[in-house]
Structures are given as structure tokens and as C-alpha cells.
Amino acid sequence: MINETELIEQLKQGDETAFKTIVEQWKDMVYNTILGIVQNETEAEDLAQDVFIKVFEKISTFKGDSKFSTWLYRIATTTALDHLRSKKRKKRFGFLQSLGGGDEKETIPDFHHPGVSLDNKERATVLFKAIESLPENQKTAYTLHKLEGLSYRDVSEVLNTTVSAVESLMSRANQNLRKELEEYYNKHYK
């Protein structure tokens, strides 16, 4: 089996087989990360394609200072967050249109992560709804740690920050999630 460095070198030469190997090896990691952030399977698949196309086009800029997976995580999280930002902009524009008598407001369906067991399905839906409301950096750190199982050190490398900064992000994310969940359960217990 070819090692990672050789694979990257081959990809830099434009080798399609190397590209295929990279896609096959890292597609679940990229897809799962994006899915956790955008919470929509169709959009996550399109964005995963975008990420690998970017990898193919930008591989020459990869200097090997960080791990390839770290670089890939960075592209995946940036692509997902950019997508959310553009969606938010469109939503704002849609709201303005609806004020002017445009289309009705669209309803967002509940998100079910395919990796969650059946017993936890409902709970996870509530949690993902709360995760959606987190600020970008907290959402990214939380997704990478909880869904991808990255250590705080690995998360700090992806986010290009310190471990203590990630600890602080995670702590604030947990506080915000508790607040959101408390609101939800207070409403649904009465």
C-alpha cells in the first residue's frame, strides 16, 4: 500500500489513481464532518464533492507542515461554514422578499444523523437543533470533537489555535447547549 506522502506527491503530478485513493480513503471523514455542520444529507454530499475538487486543484499549496487529514478537515469545515453563511444570506433575502409579498417561509425538516442509534434518534434530533444555534467556531469544535472523535489537540490544529482555546470553546458550547436544551424541555414539559 502506498503511504500518504507518496500519494500526495502523485496527486501533485495530477495522477487520477492517487486522487481516487484519496477520495476513497477520506470520503467518510469529510462527509461526516460536513454533515455535522450543515445538517442536511444532500447538501453534505454536494459539499463533500466540492471539498475533493478543491483538494485536487489546490494540492500544490499543501506544504506538508500539518498532517494531510488536518488540511482536509480545514477545507471541509471552511466549505461547510461558507455554505451556511451563504444560506443565511439567502434566507435574509427571502425574508425581505416575503415582506414584499413574495413566497411563503420554508420549513426546515428535523435532521437525523445516520450514525445515531434508534433509541437515541429523538434525543439526537433535539441536540442537533441546539447545535445549529451555536456560533460557528463552537459548532466546528463541538462537531470535530463529538462526531469525528478528535482530541482537543487535533481540534486545535484544525482550527489553528491552542488547546486551551479549544477547551474554552467546548466549555462555552456546552453551556450554550444546556441553555438551549433547558428552554426546549421547559417548553415541552408544561
Partner: protein, 113 residues
Amino acid sequence: MTSKEKIQQEIEQTLQCIDGVKRAEANPFLFTRIQARMAKKDSAWERTFSFISRPAIAMAIVVLVMAVNGWALLGSNSNNSVIGDTANVSELANEYNVVASVDNYDYENLTNE
């Protein structure tokens, strides 16, 4: 158990529900789809379209078209002198053999030709 305690318990359970969650699997045909997207992206039409549809380029084209229209409009207005118009009309009349005032004599002459 009070309702507050019950809610706290629910929150804890919900926060833990994605611990050890399985990784979502990507479409097995992802690579084929990427290849198709890249082939489409490489086509000349696609490249032209994506270049034109960039907001900055699209705006520049609109501004250019408006500028050309404005220039054409202003240019045609400044050339509208009476003499120029008369000369143009008589030139056109001669070219198409149209006579401005036709009396009977002229008319007969014309039809006899």
C-alpha cells in the same frame, strides 16, 4: 423527582446521546460524481459561463452595456443638426427615387420612364 430535576436529567441524557456515534458514510459513488463534476467544469462553455456569472464580471458587463447605450444616445443627439438631416433626407430620397412633390407632369414623366 421534581420537574426541575427531571429536566436536568433529560438535558444530561441528551448531551450524551451522540457520544460514540457512528461515522456517517458517504455515497459509494462519490468519486464517480466528482469525476463527472470535474469533466463538466473543464468544458469551455462551463468555464465561460462560470466566468460571466461571477458577480463582479456580470456587473461590469451591465455597466459596459449601459455606458455604450448612453454614449450612442448622446452621440446621435449631438449630430442631429437641421442641415445634416435635410442632406440625409434628400440623399435618401434620391437613392430610392422618391420625389418630394409630385405634380401631374412629373407623375406622367415618371410613369413614362
